[in-house]
Assembly symmetry: C2
Homo-oligomer: 340 residues x 2
């Protein structure tokens, strides 16, 4: 049973999830583990019995669910609860107030109380392809369309669940980015609270009385930081890039989440994402990277995708200050990635 804990007095949280200590990837050499995977990958087609039953799967483009006893084969994309979840729907509220969603503000009295709630939430794995080694950059248009639709479906599904306030949809590619299994997969965490980063962001946006992302779209669609664009979206290196070759993919239309995207817009987002991952492969040798969606259930919000390659390390200075030292300017990064 995991637990969500609040910092003594700041709006910072951690999830204490000791069950995850049992993951084979922890405390063993990652090299050894990688070798094991190729022969016995639990995400591969045919090994469905080695994972929990699917919470949602897609076969011939059609949604299905699995009961406990059977495992559907021949799927195209398969979603199931993480076997070592950081958050779990069976967790009961622990915090005395009984409120799952709001940590009380800090008062002199509460500063001496440890604030924690049970680790309620959902943690899902989305296996992107039945084929081991098939990565996003090699997806056909049809496969890409389905993947983006699954992303949209699963986010929508979890945002509707009782006591869920936000969803984090992300992908870790490569060991250095935190992937413990090689087979292409994304993950989704549905949380009973707003992340502190999104909370600050929405507050700033509400203070502004206009959408800063709409402004950023205007500016960056014509800037030297632009990398690629299509009818609906741009991919660019953000002005304040934390890491070398950081990329944001931003739709022109003010859409707060994937749910508000039409099929056409989804596919536009997907094609830029696929093109960028291919660029990373061709231009940077296929580095480990983290991909995540900035999604917030608020009409003021403007969806984006972020790609952060792991070519540098956050060290003591970054941990201390929150300021990142980046040795490649976004202008140079964009110029390099733009080249054919």
């Amino acid at each position: 049973m995991s637990e969500i804990r609040k910092h003594y007095f700041l709006s910072e949280y951690c999830i204490i999830a000791e069950e995850r200590g049992k993951r084979p990837s922890d405390f063993v050499s990652r090299e050894e583990e990688q070798k094991k995977q190729v022969s016995t990958c639990v995400f591969c087609a045919g090994n469905e019995a080695k994972t929990p039953p699917a919470s949602a799967g897609y076969k011939n483009g059609t949604l299905y669910f699995e009961e406990k006893a059977k495992r559907v084969q021949g799927w195209e994309i398969r979603c199931f609860p993480n076997l070592f979840p950081a958050l779990s729907p069976s967790s009961a509220p622990l915090f005395p107030s009984g409120s799952l969603v709001v940590f009380p503000p800090v008062s002199p009295e509460l500063a001496l109380t440890q604030l924690a709630i049970s680790g309620f939430g959902f943690h899902e794995v989305i296996v992107e392809s039945p084929v081991h080694g098939k990565e996003l950059e090699a997806f056909s248009d049809k496969e890409l369309r389905l993947l983006m639709q699954v992303y949209r479906d699963r986010v929508a599904y979890y945002l509707e669940q009782d006591k869920i306030r936000s969803v984090s949809l992300f992908k870790n590619y490569g060991k250095a980015a935190g992937a413990s299994l090689e087979h292409a997969h994304s993950q989704l965490l549905a949380l009973p609270l707003l992340s502190p980063l999104l909370e600050r962001e929405i507050q700033e946006i509400q203070n502004l009385n206009f959408c800063p992302y709409c402004s950023v779209f205007e500016k960056e669609s014509r800037s030297e930081r632009l990398i690629l664009k299509n009818r609906d979206c741009i991919a660019f290196a953000p002005f304040c890039s934390k890491v070398p070759f950081e990329v944001w993919i931003l739709p022109k239309k003010h859409v707060w989440s994937l749910e508000a995207c039409s099929d056409a817009l989804l596919f536009s987002l997907g094609t830029l994402l696929r093109a960028l991952v291919l660029k990373y492969r061709q231009k940077l040798g296929g580095p480990a990277y983290n991909l995540f969606f900035q999604i917030l259930k608020a009409p003021e919000y403007h969806l984006s995708l972020r790609l952060l390659p792991r070519l540098s390390l956050a060290a003591g200075f970054e941990l201390n200050t929150g300021i990142y030292i980046n040795s490649v300017s976004p202008e140079k990064a964009a110029s390099y990635l733009r080249k054919k």
Copy 2:
């Protein structure tokens, strides 16, 4: 010439420092580099000519400075400007307002402006010992006293400099923590702005009207998360630990910075630090770690030291939400580190 850039609308910053791309550690295998170092370490005694002149050195416990032409030998601790600085005192202000220290608030108009200032500041290396391979946990009391005094001196020196608003003093130990050279060293960055993390923290503290760290001291000095204590300080695993075996070292006395510490208090802090690093060696096999000092030039602030071993990776979820998933509870971590 580096540049400090602000996020489009949030209080987030990065330092674009392209000169640092020239560091030998970048884009070459770190294994190879490590081998090179042992024979030709530029931080070793006798190789002073291979680094910039000392900005401050200590010989027989006495402070000295170096002119361009000569290099003092026989030093105990030696400080000099980083050869590939993230910030540099020669940078001139670039931001149109001419203000180095305050980024303007975001307005509809400024959201279309890219906010940046020149990378003004200082970046110093503190070589902790003339002997290659001598680490903190093996320091004699005399060596430890000197190191802590040098930390205090250098922080005080930089906080007095014109246009400097904050100082980050940190140590990266091991490759996985971002150390590019093996020889024991710390680093100091003096900044023309407050880090966003410290800025939020001091705002929260000012809202509280009492010192939350004084409360935390009371609580944690008697909790199951306590690891070690002496007359003046405690070392404990914080309730909301971001990573396995995170440790905070906190003085009982409300001191805002190292400058406000007596020699005795400094030594108390140092002995807990040395003991913890030794614990990491004995109990965890000497993992890579980041060490940093939480220092803020404000009487409301309460100094602490933070130690974060690199036993886990921040991945897509952490980057997306700012929430860390930690597979070892601080209670378990403290119990494990307490054992003889």
